[in-house]
Subunit: 416 residues, 2 copies
């Protein structure tokens, strides 16, 4: 036994969320606290102050990741970590990322106030630039820490205004000296996050136990027909737009046919020559396919290629489908997933096991460190939007599951 | 009787086409002679020289329309005109517009060389900026002449580089003093043009007798759904992209259901937020519907609105369909259309009567002046492209029909 539930406070967590939301708060109730802005610096400073108030050490690594640490009884044990990110989208909300960081803070506060000792150290990480809104790609801090991106490459990234990542990091005073790769020696990592989808709310379930990140396949599709005047007869047309429209539908159909885990999205589409009275000669669009089973994902890709080829052949057009990017299935750690289930059951909270179809720092961390995630509902599934909203009860549900799973993991008998 | 066929020369017409094509000729065999460029000035100068060589007067009006005139026997009669445009698209071909101008020149040459007198004066017009590629909208010269645009409005138009229409017209030395509205007193107008569609070539018919311009209805369509991460479950999505794709198909289906004259084109489509891994919240697209029967066109518009509304309702999205522009059906002059039929029959040339679905100077001229058009095939229906191609035989077929119809009309017994 872990020694029982930690006396975490949902009300204090909520107060902290609201306090943090004032830094970059927008008139519509959202938050604009983009990475490496002055406001990001303010948010970080507030978190550091809160951490120091409860006696935790705060370290910053060379890409700005903040590592807040509470020592355990056994200095030989690898730390059990929590974390997420304080940066937001330009028109972001108050909870995406922030919930995971401040729930982690609340766990540390409860440990501190109750004088609870843990076997393993407890760590809270605020990862730099998860959103990728200002500097692309997203999940930079966790990506560098886990060895997916080089520090040099990230430091040289520029935002749309030409500002350089490394210079901005130093300007706001948050480049530290720690080696980001040191985070690879964490013993476990838990990330609490809003679902950013509508399932939990629709089903009335407060907790999602996230056991894997879906495999992703990103395709580039180019349909080549022939331009013609919009006044020309229909019969002989080789209209790239209508063919692309049929292929967009095929993406949806392939995803639906793949079952519950299947996802298919056409998020971008560009028309050439893009003139009202010209039948398009070329349409390019992106396809994002996801599935929890890599074989099923490969089958979805093949099915889409077959469908696109058949549409093009039927209409006397050419189509090329090329791989743009592939992201492997990332299974989370079974024992940490089980710790989350046990925690939810222990608190009498209904939960469902589910994948994340969305990238999170946890997905990169899982490459090197045993990892699991907790989802809580968000209203209407809306995120990356000032209207993003959760209830205090949902925040508390995520908090208590996080607290109990962290405590159990930190006190787990080695090898047990 | 008109006194028999004019001895026009298809070979000389072809030589003139090739000579004109060298001004702005591109390595790929096309032509880039955009309106009011130095090259446009060179093309105009060559046409003026050719006209003066055969004793015609050349007048230029205030918007740069060139009016080449050969007097008739009866100064009281309104002129019978031919015309088209020498300006091209940036990657245009050698024939779009140019064929109509230089075939008119060849008619004037044949009249001159054979010493043929006509009752009515014969006029050839080179209209300014038909293409609209550099300065929008298209068909400016004919639009001003026929009172559809004001001179002041046209003079102030700017190209993408910021150059002003009126200044460019003066810079190349082609602003004249004639009143453009004087062209409204023409007695008849014939325009020979490449079809810019594949029908004539496919059917092996060298001559299209064009009896009307299709009515057009341009719509703006906005589909409003909700953005979501590309990793979110399919079921609850309100994906504006897939709904728009279904509506694009509905445009095609509505056009096909309307029968031979029906046209439906989606030439532009814009996605918001336009991100690979975000389900689009909003898609805007243009719809261009055309038909030879205005009631049928209205029915097409209504059918599309109904279909779009049903798609949106089924998918829990909002759609707005608004009128952007409407262009009325333009019937051409029955007696001039008949003159073209008689001319084709007289030369033993197969022809078909057909509409133009595409805007031409003739469509504006027809608002004020009895008008008809002749189409000749172009290879693969391709135009606005350096690959635009016709055969000398097609050019000659259009030329002789134009020549005979012009001669017959110019010598027609008044009231006969």
């Amino acid at each position: 036994m872990s020694g029982g539930n930690l006396p975490v406070s949902g009300a204090r967590l909520w107060d902290s969320l609201m306090a943090m939301a004032r830094i970059g708060g927008t008139p519509k109730g959202g938050c604009n606290r983009q990475t490496l802005t002055d406001l990001d610096g303010e948010g970080r400073a507030l978190l550091r102050r809160w951490a120091e108030e409860i006696g935790c050490g705060v370290t910053v690594d060379r890409v700005g990741n903040m590592i807040i640490r509470r020592e355990g009884r056994d200095p030989a044990r690898a730390a059990v970590a929590m974390g997420s990110h304080l940066d937001t989208q330009p028109t972001g909300g108050k909870f995406d990322g922030v919930l995971g960081v401040l729930a982690g803070l609340e766990v540390l506060r409860a440990l501190h106030e109750s004088g609870t000792e843990t076997e393993a150290p407890i760590v809270l990480v605020n990862w730099t630039n998860e959103e990728g809104a200002r500097f692309s790609p997203p999940m930079m801090g966790s990506g560098v820490a886990m060895g997916l991106f080089s520090e040099a490459e990230v430091m040289a990234k520029t935002d749309p205004a030409g500002a350089v990542f490394g210079e901005e990091l130093r300007r706001i005073g948050w480049q530290g000296e720690a080696d980001p790769a040191a985070l690879q020696s964490l013993g476990a990592y838990f990330e609490l996050h809003i679902e950013q989808g509508p399932l939990l709310e629709a089903e009335g379930i407060p907790v999602g136990v996230v056991d894997r990140a879906l495999a992703q396949l990103w395709l580039d599709v180019t349909v080549e027909g022939e331009d013609a005047h919009a006044g020309s007869a229909m019969g002989p047309r080789r209209d790239a737009m209508v063919a692309a429209a049929l292929m967009v539908q095929a993406v949806e159909e392939v995803a639906l046919a793949a079952g519950g885990d299947g996802r298919g999205t056409v998020g971008r589409l560009l028309v050439t020559p893009d003139s009202r009275n010209v039948v398009p000669s070329r349409v390019w669009f992106s396809v994002d396919l996801r599935h929890g089973d890599p074989r099923q994902l490969a089958a979805m890709g093949a099915a889409f290629r077959q469908r696109a080829g058949a549409i093009a052949a039927r209409r006397n057009l050419a189509v090329s489908v090329t791989d743009f990017w592939e992201f492997p299935l990332t299974p989370f750690d079974p024992s940490l997933v089980e710790a989350l289930r046990v925690a939810a059951q222990g608190r009498g909270l209904p939960f469902r096991t589910m994948p994340t179809g969305i990238g999170h720092d946890a997905v990169y961390v899982a490459r090197r460190v045993p990892t699991a995630m907790i989802f809580v509902p968000c209203e209407g599934g809306i995120s990356h939007n000032e209207a993003e909203a959760i209830t205090p009860a949902w925040a508390e549900a995520g908090l208590v599951v996080l607290a109990d799973a962290v405590l159990a993991t930190a006190n787990r008998v080695p090898g047990g």
